[in-house]
């Protein structure tokens, strides 16, 4: 199994679709999980802002991917397919969980302080590190205030570094709609940075 998976690796950290024609890559779900779990978890963590819930949804994402492996035709990358499932799970969860979900999420929220603590600038001065941490906190506060759709698109673009057409596939939106939401989100983040500088 290891050799066949290695044959499919074109770039480090990315599975290719070369072998998709014959065997679904999701047949080797353990390998797919090992390769993409961190990425899917990161997106889910900053979407739902609760690590336990994010882990559950990550597991659900891979379970759904494996169950629907027959419908994967290789039209998009494995990462895009997984992120699409993850986005749908978040959408369903927020829709069905309602108020209880948000209440729980706030109880164990991933906040700006948490992000600041994970920013490492070993070679920078204490002052520039402090400024960078404040800027990151400001970005997160701006992201938190975005609408759910804008936040999803912003995270997919600037955290997961997906291309705009991939985001359109993941979210099921048209490309112009994705662009519109992304630019509005970027406007908010820039405005937040501008306010911080004025202070």
């Amino acid at each position: 199994m290891g050799e066949t998976m290695l044959e499919r690796i074109a770039q480090p950290g990315e599975l290719t679709l070369a072998a998709v024609d014959t065997v679904s890559p999701f047949e080797n779900i353990a390998d797919v999980h090992a390769m993409y779990e961190a990425r899917v978890f990161r997106f889910l963590l900053f979407s739902v802002r609760d690590r336990d819930l994010a882990l559950s949804l990550t597991q659900d994402t891979f379970l759904s991917a494996w169950r629907s492996r027959a419908s994967f035709r290789g039209d998009c990358s494995i990462a895009t397919w997984l992120m699409r499932i993850a986005v749908n799970l978040v959408r369903n969860h927020t829709r069905t969980g309602g108020f209880r979900f948000w209440k729980k999420a706030e109880a164990t929220a991933v906040d700006a302080t948490d992000l600041q603590g994970h920013l490492r600038h070993p070679n920078a001065s204490a002052e520039s590190t402090l400024i960078a941490r404040q800027q990151v906190a400001q970005v997160w506060e701006s992201v938190e205030r975005l609408s759910a759709r804008q936040r999803t698109i912003f995270l997919l673009r600037f955290v997961d570094e997906l291309e705009l057409n991939e985001i359109a596939v993941v979210t099921g939106l048209t490309l112009p709609t994705v662009k519109s939401h992304l630019y509005r989100a970027l406007d908010h983040v820039r405005a937040g940075q501008g306010k911080r500088e004025k202070r």
Partner: protein
Amino acid sequence: MNSHLSSEQLERVLAGRPSYEVTQHLGKCARCVQDVAAMRAVLGDFRAATASSAEHHRHLAVPVAPARVPRVAWVLASVVLFAGIATPFAVRRQPVQPVVPDVSTQASTAISDEALLNNVQNDLSASVPESLLPLAGTSTNAVNSTDEKRKN
């Protein structure tokens, strides 16, 4: 291009695909160059911080157990479901009660039928129908009186 970069243009620059016009503008506008550099640095830091934070939380996370429905609820639901399925069959299989004719009603009906037939038979055998009997006497008297007049 007189104004500074819009968010769309900034995003294109950050993605590494600026238009010719924007590239020209960046060659002349120090403020936009600074904006692009600042935003690139901030978003890079944000990405690094989210990656590090996510990795930290991934090791601490405990999957949320799905909300369990109590066993009693399952049993009750099964009973209700079974009852819902079985009831129509039970109702359909109930034996149809044969209609037992009432003996007294049957006897009285037979008697009344018999009496009606007798009446009809009597009517037919009589020279004058029963309904015309009151007229029978009067017609005889009328004939007699006519005869007496002729004799006079």
